[in-house]
């Protein structure tokens, strides 16, 4: 097992990271488009619906709302603001929801793989099983798009010590389970190259929603987060990630708070509205590679 995935590097000592057109920040907006199983097969590490013996209509239906209703309201907002989204996607959705996939393809949204189902957790998976799930995701994406999967964010943020090696081995270029930096960083992996792209588990509507906070507070977090990084971006280029769930911010009492926060971002100058792949590829092209760096 590789213990030192990312050598320590204080951000203040790094050379300036330049974004295209000298933007201060690369902003990527990441709706999580997921499927939570009605009757999940027992998986061991965690019960997705601990409220009652399965099914749990409240838990399941709350997530199902995102795909039936919330996503479409959210798409109206991102369309209106011209935001290219990167979808954190459970890959079984290619099979379950052709209507959603067509709407994403039509908008040329980027895909960040989020496992197969959000109720199948990777904690404790033996290496061969995890490799097989990752291969399934790569195969599914290729079957539906003809393309190689670019990014990985483990389903329900559940992972193993092997995950970075296995996704790099599968040809995936960027990785979103690590929250250690405001810039992409290269990871040490057994083979190939893998770059982390900053995702958010804090500026994330699903984390906020577990607490007594509503759309207004989340919007405030988004604009405060952006403003700080934008100011710092004059010295060190930064990544702004806004992590969303259509089943939360797609509700009617929250959607206009989301629109206001995103409008605050798109109306500022010095902003590169990017996708996860674009950020990763730009960084990989600028950076000599981990081996040479040391």
């Amino acid at each position: 097992m590789i213990r030192e995935r990312v050598p320590y590097s204080p951000i203040v000592t790094r050379p300036h990271l330049r974004w295209p057109n000298d933007a201060r920040v690369a902003v990527w907006v990441v709706p999580n488009v997921e499927h939570y199983e009605y009757l999940p097969s027992p998986i061991g590490s965690r019960d997705p619906w601990p409220r009652s013996p399965h099914p749990d209509v409240l838990g399941y239906g709350t997530r199902d709302y995102g795909n039936r209703v919330g996503l479409w309201r959210m798409m109206e907002v991102t369309d209106r603001l011209g935001i290219p989204c990167t979808v954190s996607l459970n890959m079984a959705n290619w099979e379950h929801y052709p209507e959603i996939m067509a709407a994403m393809v039509e908008r040329d949204w980027d895909v960040l793989c989020h496992g197969v189902y959000n109720t199948q957790y990777h904690w404790g998976l033996p290496e061969e099983e995890e490799r097989a799930v990752i291969a399934d995701c790569v195969e599914t994406y290729r079957r539906f798009t003809g393309k190689q999967l670019a990014g990985w964010f483990s389903p329900a943020a559940t992972f193993t010590h092997n995950t970075p090696d296995l996704v790099a081995e599968a040809g995936i270029r960027y990785y979103c389970d690590w929250y250690h930096d405001d810039q992409p960083t290269e990871m040490t992996v057994r083979s190939g190259r893998l770059v982390t792209v900053p995702y958010q588990m804090d500026v994330n509507d699903a984390m906020v929603w577990r607490h007594p906070f509503e759309g207004e507070e989340f919007a405030r977090m988004v604009t405060d987060h952006f403003d700080t990084l934008w100011e710092e971006g004059a010295e060190h280029g930064r990544v702004v990630c806004i992590a969303l769930h259509p089943y939360i911010m797609g509700h009617p009492h929250r959607i206009r708070h989301l629109e206001r926060a995103l409008r605050h971002i798109v109306e500022r100058d010095g902003v590169w509205l990017a996708t996860g792949s674009q950020i990763a590829d730009w960084y990989l092209a600028q950076s000599p590679g981990h081996g040479e760096e040391r």
């Binding site: 009757l39 399965h54 509503e214 009617p252």
Partner: protein
Amino acid sequence: MPSYRAAGMDHDLYPFSALPDRPALRWPGGARVAFAVVLHLEHWELDPPAAAVRDPRFRDPFGDFRPDYRTYTIREYGNRVGIFRVFDALDRHGIRPTVAVNLGACERYPYLIEECRRRGWEFAAHGTHATRMITARLGEQEERALIAGSIAAVEAATGSRPRGWVGQDFGESARTPRLLAEAGLEYVADWPNDDQPYRMTTEPGIVSIPCQAEWDDVQLLWHRRVFTHRYPDLVAEALSVLHAEGAQSGRYFGLGLHPWLFGMPHRIRYLNQALDRIAGFDGLWQATLGEVAGHMRTDGVGGA
């Protein structure tokens, strides 16, 4: 991989339906939004049977101890005191709620049943006790009997047969919609997955009326602990967006109310404020759940 990894849902209770792909839903009188209030009239047992399942989120934070005087008496307060504040708020705003009443409440609170009945309010079946969720742990015959008993209790206490079902804590087994339909009910209000009612695939058919749990009082104010003074803004904002969308295709807007919660002195003013704000919207059809379901079964073309 599971065999259900194919187009559509991972169950056969309803088909997938993306909101923008549906035919327009038209409400009576060209209303933009059907507005309903579900008032919960429930008995919480002091000593539930050992096998009963209750929503674990109501447990004492330090464990599941019995007897639970705390929850029992808070619920009793709702029916002794709080509910009269809620009655006043509804009367003042001329609202006809649908009263979700369980078997225990039919037996224990005939006074309250009569207060609702004389106002001409509609009743929905709501299980037997607030301490007994329907879950997959029930056998089919037990579940069928629970449903039949709940319906019979409402009919005996109110003089009319309920048209639909509101599940205790949204509790269902995988067979619940079918058993409700077979019991002759027209709607079930357990699913938080839409802003329009829709037909489920049961035989005979049953309409799912959204429970909109995101602003249900217990979910929002009790479990998530959002301050009640936020409630008027939150629900008025939801209605405002649904009302705007309703110009194209009708939307549903429902409030779930519990007397033990909204009937508290520090909360009741915010219910009144919310109802004041709602009264400011035109184009609302203030309906009962039975009326909404009846419309969906006969006239409403949308809602998939």
